[in-house]
Symmetry: C2
Subunit: 345 residues, 2 copies
Amino acid sequence: MIKIAVDAMGGDYAPAEIVKGVEEARDRYPELTFLLFGIEDQVVPLIQNQERINFVATTEVIAMGDEPVKAMRDKQDSSMVRAAQAVKDGEADALFSAGNTGALLSSAIFIVGRIKGVDRPALATAIPAVDAKNGHNQFIFMDLGANAESKPAHLYQYGILGSFYASHMLGYDNPTVRLLNNGAEEDKGDEVHKEAHQLMKQSSDFNFLGNVEARELLEGTADVVVADGFSGNAALKSMEGTALVILGQLKKAIMNGGLRGKLGALMLKPALKKLKGQLDFNNQGGAVVLGVNAPVVKTHGSAKATAVANTMGQIKMMVEQNLVPDTAAFIAENKDKLKVKKSAN
Amino acid sequence: MIKIAVDAMGGDYAPAEIVKGVEEARDRYPELTFLLFGIEDQVVPLIQNQERINFVATTEVIAMGDEPVKAMRDKQDSSMVRAAQAVKDGEADALFSAGNTGALLSSAIFIVGRIKGVDRPALATAIPAVDAKNGHNQFIFMDLGANAESKPAHLYQYGILGSFYASHMLGYDNPTVRLLNNGAEEDKGDEVHKEAHQLMKQSSDFNFLGNVEARELLEGTADVVVADGFSGNAALKSMEGTALVILGQLKKAIMNGGLRGKLGALMLKPALKKLKGQLDFNNQGGAVVLGVNAPVVKTHGSAKATAVANTMGQIKMMVEQNLVPDTAAFIAENKDKLKVKKSAN
């Protein structure tokens, strides 16, 4: 049995859609059990069927706008902190939340704890790749903003963490890795990216193919794209924002196109629907904190029950595929080599 | 009369489309004259009518793939370097190129020269804003990658340079400025962005509204968005790449949609065309080097004659609007105050 600690209070539709999603996942995956943390009188009445769901009462809630580290430290009896504590104490195998991303990151790093030898856990997600030459329709993009500042050795470690995630979760053999940089040539970028490129180029720890520019990201030029958290965050949000604006403008153009526009839209409906699905970044599963001692997954704040249940499926796979132990074992075996990289910069 | 020094050899369709564009601009704008630099036997036969076009023979060409600073230093008789030199020597008022962006930047900074008091000239462009609340349908986005590394004082200066560009070229009164950061709150980002935010917040030099996240960029939340060159480049290229992929997938979906898809597309044609125009980042004019002693404008490498002529119109407006002298005068008047900001970090 796999036990998932669930923060029932985080997310725009919490706790209703979280509880509903947990029940959907319970019915879908017989190997899952849940430890649900939340405010008793808000959560318990929502549970239809307690099979494989254990409820733990907590008294506090970390809000979306709370300052992350402070919230984690001050709200010791919050649903998120208690859920993280359960993972640390071995009472659960993984942590789920749809709440405050920064607080979840802090809980993952300071409570669940870093894998020994990992300096900076990072936030990763799968992104749709469109017509990729390697035939892979998703790639792993990280760091999405866990770390505002990264050193070359951190970017190097992201390459290892991302490779394990891509091989274990997407089934890619010897995943290819690229570094997000503002030019294809190895001398491009600031000092951090130039040095990171050199470290990666000499890597025997993963399959490095060189730099990638943000313009080519969605074309899926690699199975893993490593970015510093600041520009990774900017690139991801630019892509999301652009996709939303275009689809919104398309809809508006159709609406303003009179009968002709509406008829055209009706005929194009299947094509438009397919396109929208392809470009739905939230459809690709939750964002994962890589480099900590257990699977920690953040699903989108606006996630409804089915998205919650899908994320539980993702967590189940992370546990079954042995992602964290395999990553930890590799880093332990190579710790001397990785230390050298660190002292080099 | 306004005299523009033209690098006739830079760009994918140079020199043919550059020369054609210059002639189109000459016919369109009676106040423009051109100093055309290029390889004699390649350029001269293309000129249909020499009215207000003076040709200067050069022997070298800076290629798209050349290492920028090295190319500028080594190829002293290249069309780009000679054109820049003409601006420096007062023989021309502005510099145009569709060639190697990095080499043009270097030529702008080291040959045309920085405005006194400007530490880091930056690359700026107008971006379409969609349904902006302030009613403005474009905003200025900078730095797009002139500087891989920026200090807080540099970001602060971009705010000044961008404000002058927005007021002079887009006609926005007291332009609003935001800082691209990975969160809306003032404590977000790395040290550079936190300090830059504090400098800008206390600014009396421009109208600062706070941070903007990349996701909201296209919504036009400000008239000027200031970014460090690394993440500004990543955000711009992510937006361009996403727009291209979506429009490409839409086309493909229509093609694969059978008769129904094609009929629908036919009916939606006006709406789709409008959308494409709205999202064409290259339609918004060339990228401008701000902070140097004359207008220096880089149009897209794939620009054809009409795009070249449009860019000449943009340069004409920069000169007529007195952009560079007004910017320089403001910076000279405030140099003591700006020095203080610099020493603070």
